[in-house]
Amino acid sequence: MWENETALRANEGHVLLSWEPTGKDSEYEIQYTGPGGESEIRYRGPDLAYFATGLAEGKHAYRVRESGGPWSRPVEVTVNYPPISHVLIGLVSGALLLGITMGTIAAGYRLCRTEGESGVAR
């Protein structure tokens, strides 16, 4: 029933699950099982896809069925975020680069304003 593979990686914390239709006016249910083993129905309706987002790190499982019918095999979604140390390096680099860009534009503009417009900044 799933159009997805049975094992998916979602390292940005979101995944689009889709399934094949079983009939013209069918309604479907999506059952979710979290990393702690807790289960609940996350979607009931006629759509043929479900977008899971904001997933915590770990393994998540989803099953689909036509309302009242048997459950499909589960799709397992594994979420592994980049280590926080990498993120901090990225953040510091980005902030530094922005500071240099803003500082350069401000300095260049100031020089041109104070020394005339015909290009005196060196």
Partner: protein, 479 residues
């Protein structure tokens, strides 16, 4: 689109709205376009645009379909930081303000951003720059054409190919007749409609949602959207910022606006446009984040913004979002068509193919180029490949590599031809390699950093001593 089972509006109502809006914009475009008597009038609206129109056109152009559709998608995928990440694109407008002032002063008779690259850095850097800007402009046009087709199909059931074709046709026709006069005039009205529409939709969503319940639902079902240290979202923040800087600093859409504004206007106009634009993606991102708490499934995540608005506001909301989206698409497609046609006319046709041609021939050629660009965009949109983020963001590392050659070249004499070439090539290659790995969200930061380091190193080894007067191509100028 992916299996959204029911459109909110009747296809006939969608078609009527499309017809009314399309005829309205074409009519206004023809009316305003009567003022374009020569090539300069057609391409740069007579270089006499005042503050109100200048700020409105910059703001409306930057509110693209991507703002209305990708900002909610960022909220849905990356939570609070995603919502804020999109708004960092306003830095592009803020930081372009002093640059626009400088551009207007150094190049009183300039036409395009390509003119600057050619005169400042020579033919090799100019050629690389033209490649970068044409790839980006086509990616932007295609992402907007696709967005138009998708939103019409989602809201009214009009098949993707028909909706996409209709929107492109309308924009090509009124840009063709009116040039930049038509673009700026329609942008002014469109900016007011967009601002009002987003404020209304955001306010209604806020009244329909109970904040405590929404928070609890998200904490349970989408916990990472609320995390302060959501890893990918934090990285997306700076990536989007540098993508925005690259887009604004290099693209002729913004340069042509700087050239078209009256002396003394560009600095204030771009600051004002940034301030007006800043809250729009925050509101749009919030709308996207509310999909989960409101119990709205998003089988096509690209459509989360229009979907939430239409579900919360019903048919009235769907009509409102239809009008807002049509305006945001039209205001950006027309600007991009006009600016890219200017670039091709001025930099490729007049400088390469037919340097001895007269103005009337160039004006005629410019209209054919607008038609050609529309046709190429349409052909690339028809297959409806990839998602919106993929189509646009792939060009991110290319445009980010142009940030430093433009900034340094505008304010400093020492950066040389070689420095600009190495910076653009190095940044583009490094950023694209990162994009193709699993870390697309670092690609623009890496591209900007490599471009900066390359430019500084080459300039230190072999500095130039550029004469600013070479940028002035007016009859009394040095060029």
């Amino acid at each position: 689109m992916r299996d959204l089972q029911s459109a909110v509006l009747d296809p006939w109502l969608g078609a009527i709205l499309l017809l009314v809006l399309g005829c309205g914009w074409i009519g206004l475009g023809i009316y305003w376009g009567r003022r374009a008597k020569n090539l300069e009038g057609f391409m740069l609206a007579g270089r006499n645009v005042g503050l109100a129109l200048a700020a409105a056109t910059a703001m409306a152009t930057w509110v693209t379909s991507n703002t209305i559709m990708l900002a909610p998608l960022f909220g849905l995928k990356y939570g609070i930081w995603g919502m804020l990440a999109y708004s960092t694109a306003s830095f592009g407008l803020f930081l372009f303000a002093p640059m626009a002032h400088r551009i207007r002063a150094l190049m009183p008779s300039g036409f395009t951003s390509g003119d600057f690259m050619r005169l400042r850095y020579g033919k090799a850097a100019w050629t690389i720059f033209l490649f970068i800007t044409l790839v980006y402009s086509m990616a932007w046009l295609v992402s907007m054409g696709m967005a138009g087709g998708k939103f019409l199909e989602a809201l009214s059931g009009i098949p993707y190919q028909y909706g996409m074709s209709a929107i492109l046709f309308v924009c090509v026709v009124y840009t063709l007749f009116g040039g930049l006069y038509a673009v700026i005039g329609t942008d002014f009205i469109q900016s007011i409609i967009i601002l009002l529409g987003i404020v209304i939709v955001g306010a209604v969503v806020l009244t329909r949602i109970e904040v405590d319940t929404a928070y609890e639902t998200m904490a349970l079902q989408q916990p990472m959207l609320l995390k302060v240290l959501m890893p990918v979202s934090l990285l997306v923040l700076f990536n989007n910022l540098f993508f925005g800087l690259g887009e604004v600093f290099h693209n002729n859409v913004w340069w042509s606006r700087a050239f078209s504004m009256r002396k003394g206007v560009p600095f204030k106009a771009f600051l004002l446009a940034g301030a007006l634009w800043l809250p729009i993606p925050v509101a749009a991102g919030f709308i996207g984040m509310c999909a989960g708490p409101l119990g709205i499934n998003t089988p096509d995540p690209d459509m989360v913004g229009p979907l939430v608005a239409s579900k919360v506001l019903g048919a009235g909301g769907a009509i409102l979002i239809f009008i807002v989206l049509f305006c945001s698409l039209a205001s950006s497609i027309d600007s991009l068509l006009a600016a890219t046609a200017d670039l091709v006319t001025e930099d490729i046709y007049r400088k390469w193919i037919n340097p001895d041609g007269d103005e009337a021939t160039a004006r005629k050629m410019s209209t054919w180029i607008i038609v050609g660009l529309g046709a190429v965009t349409w052909a690339l949109c028809v297959p409806n490949f990839g998602n919106l983020i993929e189509v646009l963001f792939r060009s991110g590392p290319l445009v980010a590599s142009a940030i430093w050659p433009v900034v340094a070249g505008l304010f400093f004499k020492k950066p040389s031809h070689l420095a600009a070439v190495v910076a653009m090539l190095g940044g583009s290659i490094a950023g694209s390699v990162v994009y193709e790995s699993d870390a697309w969200y670092l690609s623009c930061v890496v591209s900007t950093a490599v471009s900066l380091i390359s430019l500084v190193v080459v300039t230190a080894i072999k500095p130039a001593h550029f004469n600013w007067k070479q940028l002035d191509e007016s009859p009394g100028g040095a060029s």
